[in-house]
Amino acid sequence: MDDMDEEVLQLFVEESREHLAGIEDDLLAMESMDGLDEDLVNRVFRTLHTIKGGAGFFDLVNLQNLAHSMENILDLIRKGELQTTKMIVSSLLAGADTVASMVDNLDSSNGYDISEHLSIFDGILKGDLASEEAVEVSSESDAVAEAEEQELSPGDLADSEQTGSEEPVSATEPKTTASDPAESIPPADAAPVSKAVAEASTPTTSGTKATSAKGAATSGDQSIRVHLSLLDRLMELAGELVLTRNALIQSVETGDPSLLQPAAKKVDAITSQLQRAIMSTRMQTIDIVFSKFRRIVRDLSGQLGKQINLEILGEDVELDKTIIEALGDPLTHLVRNSIDHGLETPAQRKEAGKPAFGQLRLHAFHEAGQVVIEVSDNGAGIDPQRIARKAIEKGMMSEEEIARMSEKDIVRLIFHPGFSTAEEVTDISGRGVGMDVVRQNLAKVGGVADIESELGVGTTIRVKLPLTLAIIPSVLVGISTENFAIPQVNVVEMVGIAPDEIKTRIQHVGGVAMLRLRGELVPLIELSDFFDMTQTYIDAETGAVNEERRDRLSDRRENDNSDEATKDLRRGVERRESADSSVNIVIVAAGAFKYGIRVDELHESAEIVVKPLGMHFRGSNEFSGATILGDGTVALILDVDGVRRLSGASESQQTDSDMRARDAEVERDVDSCSILIIQHAQDEVYAVPLQLVARIERFSTQDLQNVGGRKAISYRGGILPLISLEGIVSSQALDVSAKEFYVIVYTVGNEEIGLMASDIRDIVDYRDTIDNRTHKRAGIAGSMIVNGEILQFLDLYGILELDDPEWTGHLVSKSNGETGLTILLVEDSPFFQSQMKKEIEAAGFIVLTADDGLLGLEVLHSHPEIAMVLTDIEMPNMDGLEMVRAIRAQPKYKDLPLVAVTSLAGATAEKKGIEAGVDEYQIKLDREQLVDVCRRLAKPRAVSA
């Protein structure tokens, strides 16, 4: 074959694949359709016709014949001379599988045995009766079909076809199997589970899977379809980049620093846009994976005599190509499990009072910067007792351990390695076939699986996936002299423990350090116990090389008793205490297991580019890769599951009753703060204190107006000025792709301002410390982690000033000059303390601070000039109300204005406060009110003699 032909042949293959990709869905649609959809049938007809033509041209006789006989049937259907039955569709589907396989292996296509297909199609053409006989003859070797055969006398076959839905087993089983020449199904009753698993890898049953996988391996891997508009966008960005580069070069050459700044900013913006655009070329819709399940569910439910409704939601959710490709197998496994073990037969369902049709739902959606896929069924659910018994039998857990576990945790045991291997054949009703494998496969692409099941009601498996693998959002931390990146998927939250809390919150139980966290005990891991953290780099100047590292490392590993770990942690903790800094802990989740990693520094969170590590790291599971930081140095990416294995920490530690008992003791109330989570652009979310929000409104982008160069909107008969975070704290434009946007209305002075947001995510009660260092900058008061996502806490007044100081100047009450008055601020949260201090100081007051009630009293006594006290309520050592009572008890402070500040207003709390002697209640982040109350109440005090 010369080059020319080769090229044409390649074209034919590609074109055929394209056509075949849609044929399955079309055939299934034909089946589910009541009447005749001519367009649909025509489309299938044309596909086969095209393939037939091409095959003829290239002398591919077998392919041509098969396509031809399928085409004949479709022709009859098109003319209305043949009714589409389940059986016909099954035959056509099987035929299409073979055609697809032939197209993929053109060279050997003439060697395919298509006689069975042809005889079935001939039979169909001649009339139903004969075809059934053909089916039976051809399936004689099949054990399953043989069993069914007895029920299928030729006479009632036509009948059973019509009533196919009532008798799905007898009607479809022999046909599906028989029509597939290469397939041999083992007896269904012997090992449906192992069979189901094994089948996934045979090309015949899941024909689409095989073909699409092959397609991916051959053509898919090398090329990808990209929408033209996306390419245009890339061109546009590249153009912009060139222009900006020119500007940059020019500014460097002329040495004009005023040009440099904007150029650098532009490069920053274009780079992130370019990055996103390029990443999106790798994005594919999850439909590619989901669509094949229509066929799998249809075939499998037929085989097992079950009636299943498949519901697919969110098929347009996009994921990175690599992840999409890796999803097929684990999802197939989950779906098969659901059909095989989750959903009951119609009879069982009726008995349980459920509708005969079982529901199987595949749902993909975005959540917190990740993609979540849910596979849920309303089947029998998983019996935790069964799982518990199995776990005890296998010696994975002791009865005591089980007794302490919640039902949810027990069900999660199915993800445990080695849980289910042995029961595949015998235990049909139990679930959890190779769930460990599913979990591992998902982990390879950064996915995390979790399960929820209610006995008799159903099972839901949630798979969380990153959007892409090449660039992952991570939290950068410093431990000793080294930097590590922890993928944000794994980060649950970050906890800072104040020096005076270390003793109560970190405890050592059985040689293991545990952190008390909201009624839970979380084991802590000190990385330096496993890695040698001494400075070992070679300095180019001094060349100092630390040669002791191996000794220490092996030392550690040899006597791996955790006592040493404890001592180390203590040492670390004490050192920190004396340095009066808090202990920072990153809580991470490895599967369902949570633990904390103590870190010295929390750096920023960043999108990091993952770089592979060399062969010397193959044995180490602790790292999943490396990345290059902004300063050019390297940071390793921690694999939290690997670190857990290294440390030997296990789940059982968490449920030790001993620790639970201690745990109940002294968990101190933490201030809770209601926050509104808003989205500005994809992956960019911010938190706003809910107390400051007056209203949330939704507008269409068409309503946007420009008033004096500013965005505004007509609203309640007036004009509401709007501000957008773009250009203030964000480099991204507001995402208004939904053509609608939200406006968070809040009051400044006597005027209302609207903050634009692309979406409202959630309202949560945040009960933890707000990190006021890591992300702090103008307009951002701090940061917090909610559901593994880092939120930047907006300073609603700060952003106003940033936006346009002149315009907002009249709104923001400026300092009326120094008042010379001193205010004592008692507040334990560093975040709120610094925030309020700043605001009150801006209003011209002198602010003294204290971290708790006791310290507050001390400061008050030593500073007679204090004109007013602002205090938080929930504080360690001595809370606000107690302090207020103590102050009021002293006659000289009878008239001292005392104001309680709270992040959560409530009538009862207020009443209690008034009873204790508080003059007023204020909300912590409401600057206006706060400043106002200071101005009203603070009066110079005559220093009493």
Binding site: I538, A540, G614, F617, V634, L636
Partner: protein
Amino acid sequence: MSEALFLEDTEIIVFRVGEITIGLPITEVREIFKSPPITPVHTAYSYVNGVINLRGSIVTIIDLGKRMNVPIKRNVKAVHIVLVEIGEELIGLLVDGIEDSVFASSENFFPVPATVNGADSNFFHALFRREEDLVAMLNLEKTLDIDDT
């Protein structure tokens, strides 16, 4: 005998690791540079010194002295990295100093004795006689083989 060791004349780069003078054919050396700061890493291999960022790629750095278990008297001013490629991967060899590049003709190669200044002979292909002294020709595959620690 020498024919079996190196059939062709070759240009070699000579560097020092402790007391040993080591040579590598110039064709096997991708780059030589002064060591940038090395990020320490934690692997099962004590001789892995760390990783560096080489123009956007992560390169593993191997301390040849530790690999061969020879005492190192490190001339601190002259720590260099010899970058080699094995398989698809770039690996940096940390050496004490770069000496020279010399032309080695095939007849000057000799078989390796059991040890070379304390280092196992497995790490070397051959010895090369350079005027006064001997240069041990490094066997890269053996040296970088991770199964043979």
